[in-house]
């Protein structure tokens, strides 16, 4: 009931979900697994991964566009979510292989033998055979799924509590979150971190118990799951920013001190937003990495989180669809350019090869967006909608355009 009235009050959310459903059905029909096979399985995976990136972009938009916290560390939560599900995937898959091997032996395997074989199978590459303590729940899908939510959530809670209570704000906080993700990736790069160092976790595209099912089909399953998560995330985020809570959060973004003087516990609001978005990021990561097939510490290097901020900024922060547009557009275009599909431009004296020049274009293009279109692409959509509504009917302003997301300096 609440949902219905909520949806009726926010038609843009319905539009988004309808478009998402249309997209998913379209991709399914065109796929190799369920449809006419017009698009390849690897492209289905790219689409599914893009949906996950859109989901984390929504999280980023919540924390930055609505709450004004420029977090440069949300990919740490994304990566942690991926690691948590990756542990189960890798452990169970290795276990099924190991049990098969040991069945050929003369004696039935003891539990110790199975564990040792799994350990040397997984950790042989970093010179170990013991299974670290942090893998103690790796054989349980339910617990690892819970950890997908709990580990990023707890890290965000502790980090956020420490940072917000000492009133670290603005660029200081950005740098601090960047330091957090750097520290985490450096830690995971070590061989004795228990997560296979720079090898990371691999073979994640193989789903234990579904080995016989083709990747054509599995990729569609994950596309559906990602689309569902994105839809649910969008709905949740829209609901979260629509009510009184959303107003307070926006108020914190625009003038933190004033909201505090009004009697709100600013730190608690920030902490909630920070933690919730970390959880969303973790879920997005848990859906992303089985489609990518591999996760390693380089994925959570500071640069990844900065790109996330770039997507949201280009898409237009302070509006959820802006984040989705930005993430989808920039990540897909980036794939197009860097995979060598974009045609090179011969200038006679020099040929522009996009593999080399794409980042230059992105960097300067991003500067131009910041300078001349601070509302991003979403701002253009808003302008269009507003113009038409101004002609047709009085404005209802589905999602309030963001003001300058700035602190006093």
């Amino acid at each position: 009931m609440i949902e219905r009235t909520f949806l009726l009050r926010h038609p843009s959310v319905m539009v988004f979900i309808a478009l998402l459903a249309l997209f998913t059905i379209g991709a399914t029909v065109l796929s190799e697994g369920f449809g006419i096979g017009l698009i390849s399985t690897s492209f289905v995976k790219t689409l599914g991964k893009t949906l996950c990136l859109c989901l984390i972009a929504i999280a980023m938009d919540l924390v930055w566009g609505y709450c004004g916290i420029l977090s440069l560390g949300h990919f740490a939560f994304f990566g942690l979510g991926g690691y948590m599900i990756g542990m189960w995937l890798m452990y169970e898959r290795t276990k099924s292989i190991v049990v098969e091997q040991l069945d050929a032996a003369a004696l039935p395997p003891t539990p110790d033998e199975v564990r040792e074989a799994i350990g040397s199978q997984i950790f042989g590459v970093v010179g170990g055979s013991d299974i670290p303590v942090i893998w103690m729940f790796a054989d349980s899908l339910i617990i690892q799924l819970a950890l997908v939510v709990l580990v990023p959530g707890l890290l965000a809670l502790v980090f956020g509590w420490l940072a917000f209570r000492s009133r670290v704000t603005g660029v200081y906080l950005s740098i601090l979150t960047q330091a957090m993700t750097l520290a985490l990736s450096l830690y995971l790069f070590q061989n004795d971190s228990g997560l296979r160092g720079n090898n990371g976790l691999s073979g994640l595209q193989n789903i234990p118990g579904a080995e016989t099912i083709s990747q054509d089909v599995v990729s569609i399953w994950f596309l559906w799951a990602s689309a569902f998560a994105l839809g649910a995330g969008y709905l949740f985020a829209a609901w979260m920013v629509s009510g009184k809570f959303g107003n307070v959060v926006r108020g914190i973004r625009d003038d933190e001190a004033r909201v505090r003087f009004l009697g709100y516990n600013v730190e608690a609001y920030k902490l909630v937003v920070f933690t919730v978005t970390a959880v969303i990021a973790g879920i997005a990561g848990a859906l992303y990495y089985p489609q990518a097939g591999i996760i390693n510490p380089a994925e959570i290097a500071p640069i990844a989180s900065i790109y996330l901020a770039v997507w949201v900024a280009i898409g237009g922060r302070g509006r959820l669809y802006g984040a989705v547009i930005g993430a989808a557009l920039v990540s897909l275009v980036s794939t197009w350019f860097t995979s060598g599909q974009a045609p090179d431009i011969p200038l006679g004296f020099y040929t522009i090869e996009w593999v080399d020049w794409w980042l230059v274009l992105l960097g300067f293009g991003f500067v131009l967006v910041t300078l001349f279109a601070p509302q991003g692409l979403g701002g253009l959509v808003d302008a269009l909608v507003r113009n038409r509504q101004a002609v047709a009917a009085p404005p209802t302003a589905p999602v309030k355009p963001a003001e300058k997301a700035s602190e006093a300096t």
Binding site: W64, G68, L70, A106, L107, P108, P109, T110, P111, D112, F159, L162, A163, R165, S166, R167, V168, T169, G170, V171, Y172, S174, I175, L176, Q178, A179, M180, L182, A183, L184, L186, Y187, F189, Q190, E256, A257, P302, I306, A309, V310, A313, D356, W357, L359, V360, L362, G363, F364, G365, F366, V367, T370, L371, P374, K404, A405, S406, E407, A408, T409
Partner: protein, 658 residues
């Protein structure tokens, strides 16, 4: 007939006389003492082996001939030849000449010319040559040429042997050169500590090294304390026991039992693999000793099956834990020194302990120097950032790329100016100028338009950063480019064997000091500095006083960027120049600024000092793992920010933020 016999007799006589003459000639050539020894041991000389050559060498040395060292050297260098006709050995005047002009070994006189084909070269293998070189040492030590004496000492230091001691002692009395004398005396003490027969002399020599932190002393004393772990039923009386090991505390029970097994004092354990192999070998129709194989899926079940198998006599019984414990309890485990003399080991361990504590103290000094040099790099990298952040409140994510620009400027200058000293002298101001211009351009084109939007400035400068990085990659390629330091910066200044620091790091330290002083002067003693401070504290008020904040911002940004360019040259001198050079320092620079506090060069100094020394200290505790060191450092900084959110030197005024 008689006549015929007479003729034969005459012929015989002549032949005999000639033979006798020949024999006399040969005997004459053999008169030299070295040649005599060589002929006596001809087989061992021709096919010398490492094991058999020593007695020959001893005999040669025993001749006392003054030509022994020359001969040994030639032998070592493979320029001794043997005449095929009579087996005599000769030196040659010119190895490449044909015919060869032979030189008598003992007299040094020319002994005729022989075609090269009629001579065989002696080709001692490397083992033999090593033995010869050892025998040569005693001659080198007394050589009139000081350089050769020094070379002889170096040879002993590298590979000391008991036999060197006598030769060394003999040469000390005749040593005239004071420096070499000191070296010889020191080496004599080192050799005495290890090789002297007299225990008291050794102890005295060892104790004479008290407090000497040189590496060679530790390299001499440590082998004296080498131990071996042994097991026995009772402690032997004659052994020099280092310590007795208590099973369970000093040595694991498993290890102790394994030692007993190795020493044949106890039966071998049946480990899991042996047990499983035995079980598999005795599978009979799906059953082992009456147990169904399918049930053997736990260690307990397998142990039980093995016990049942042992009862049938098919396999030796397993050692029970009780038996194992009893066996270990019945024996003693101890470490013995390889060195039999207890007085020596006691003296060595006490001396070594004193030395180690001194070494520890010097290590701390060395660590301090390391930290200082790292701190000066961080200071150079971060000070520009701190100034721009302090004055304008903007974080410049492209700061690392200005460092990169400086480093590449240095690289390009070195391509054009081949003289390294001149190129560095040109590169430093040029790097400053180019980075200054780049900074001013960035400020004019981008940052000015994003005033009061710090988060957007951060992201926009990040966009610049990725674009510049990729541009550098496109221009200079991905491979690392060297920036070579001039020769006078090669090497290191070392106080002793523990404390040393490379000249490049000293130069960087000097550079950091110069810029600290320079900036302090600019900010506190010049008109520009006054204006900068005014804008930092209250830009609007400063503007109403006639200061142009716009101009101040531009100059400050240029200044900060220019210093980053200088830092780039400095960093490039000891690290490779790549497009990621700046990016790898940027987070550390941010940390330095955040910890130190903004807009204050003292704060940056404190921040750099703290982060530099902290990183070195953490690396010291965990030297193998620099990744962990960085992780812990970042965590420490996050915690530090809890207590001083605005850094060590908090700034008051507008730039202090909210």
């Amino acid at each position: 007939m008689h006549r015929g016999i007479g003729l034969i007799m005459v012929r015989l006589f002549v032949a005999l006389a000639i033979a006798c003459l020949g024999a006399i000639g040969t005997a004459h050539a053999q008169t030299g003492p070295i040649q005599a020894v060589l002929q006596e041991n001809r087989a061992d000389v021709e096919r010398a082996s490492r094991r058999t050559v020593q007695p020959v060498l001893d005999a040669i040395v025993a001749t006392g001939s003054e030509r022994v060292p020359l001969f040994l050297e030639r032998w070592r260098d493979r320029v001794v030849y043997q005449r095929d006709a009579d087996g005599l050995f000769f030196l040659v005047e010119d190895e490449d000449a044909d015919p060869m002009r032979l030189i008598d070994i003992d007299t040094g006189e020319i002994a005729g010319e022989v075609p090269e084909d009629d001579m065989s070269q002696l080709r001692p293998n490397s083992g033999v040559r090593g033995v010869i070189a050892t025998a040569l040492v005693q001659f080198q030590l007394s050589d009139p040429d000081p350089e050769r004496r020094a070379a002889g000492l170096t040879a002993i230091e590298r590979d000391p042997e008991a036999s060197h001691l006598t030769a060394l002692r003999a040469s000390i009395e005749r040593e005239a050169d004071p420096a070499l004398l000191a070296r010889k005396m020191r080496l004599e003490r080192l050799l005495t500590a290890t090789f002297d027969e007299d225990e008291a002399a050794r102890v005295a020599a060892i104790e004479s090294f008290a407090g000497d932190i040189a590496v060679d002393v530790r390299a001499t004393l440590n082998p004296l304390l080498a131990t071996r772990t042994r097991a026995a039923e009772t402690l032997p009386d004659n052994a020099n026991i280092a310590r007795v090991l208590e099973p369970g505390t000093d040595i694991a029970i498993d290890d102790a039992y394994a030692m007993l097994v190795t020493a044949d004092l106890a039966p071998a354990l049946i480990d899991a693999d042996t047990r499983d192999a035995a079980l598999i070998a005795n599978i009979d129709n799906g059953r082992v000793a009456g147990v169904d194989v399918a049930t053997l899926d736990s260690n307990a079940a397998r142990d039980a099956a093995y016990a049942a198998l042992a009862e049938t006599g098919a396999v030796p019984p397993a050692v029970t834990p009780d038996e194992r414990a009893a066996a270990v309890a019945d024996h003693v485990f101890f470490e013995t020194y390889n060195e039999p003399s207890q007085a020596v080991t006691t003296a060595a361990s006490e001396t070594l302990r004193a030395i180690e504590s001194r070494v520890g103290a010097y290590r701390v000094v060395d660590l301090g120097l390391d930290g200082l040099s790292l701190a000066s790099i961080y200071f150079l990298a971060a000070i520009g950032l701190a100034i721009t952040f302090g004055v304008m409140g903007v974080i410049n994510m492209a700061h690392g790329e200005f460092i990169m620009i400086g480093a590449y400027t240095g690289f390009v200058v070195q391509q054009l100016v081949p003289n390294y000293t001149a190129s560095i002298v040109i590169a430093l101001p040029l790097a400053f100028a180019i980075a200054f211009l780049a900074g001013v351009a960035l400020e004019r084109l981008v940052i000015r338009h994003l005033m009061h939007r710090p988060l957007e400035t951060l992201l926009a400068t990040f966009g610049i950063s990725i674009a510049l990085q990729q541009l550098a990659k496109n221009i200079f390629g991905t491979q690392a480019r060297p920036l070579t330091a001039p020769e006078w910066l090669d090497g290191a200044w070392s106080l002793n064997d523990v404390v040393s620091i490379s000249y490049i790091r000293i130069a960087i330290f000097a550079l950091a000091v110069i810029f600290f002083v320079l900036l302090w002067f600019i900010l506190n003693r010049t008109r520009l500095g006054l204006e900068v401070r005014a804008v930092t504290q209250n830009a609007r008020m400063a503007a109403s006083m006639g200061i142009s904040p716009d101009r101040v911002n531009m100059l400050t940004f240029g200044l900060g960027s220019g210093i980053a360019g200088i830092a780039g040259v400095a960093i490039g001198l000891y690290a490779q120049v790549t497009s990621e050079l700046g990016a790898s320092y940027i987070v550390q620079s941010f940390m330095t600024v955040v910890v130190g506090g903004v807009g204050n060069i003292w704060g940056t100094l404190a921040g750099a000092g703290m982060i530099g020394s902290l990183q070195k200290i953490i690396e010291w505790f965990n030297p193998a793992n620099t990744l962990a060191a960085q992780t812990y450092m970042i965590i420490f900084i996050i915690i530090f920010i809890q207590f001083r959110p605005k850094g060590i030197f908090a700034l008051r005024g507008r730039a202090a933020g909210d």
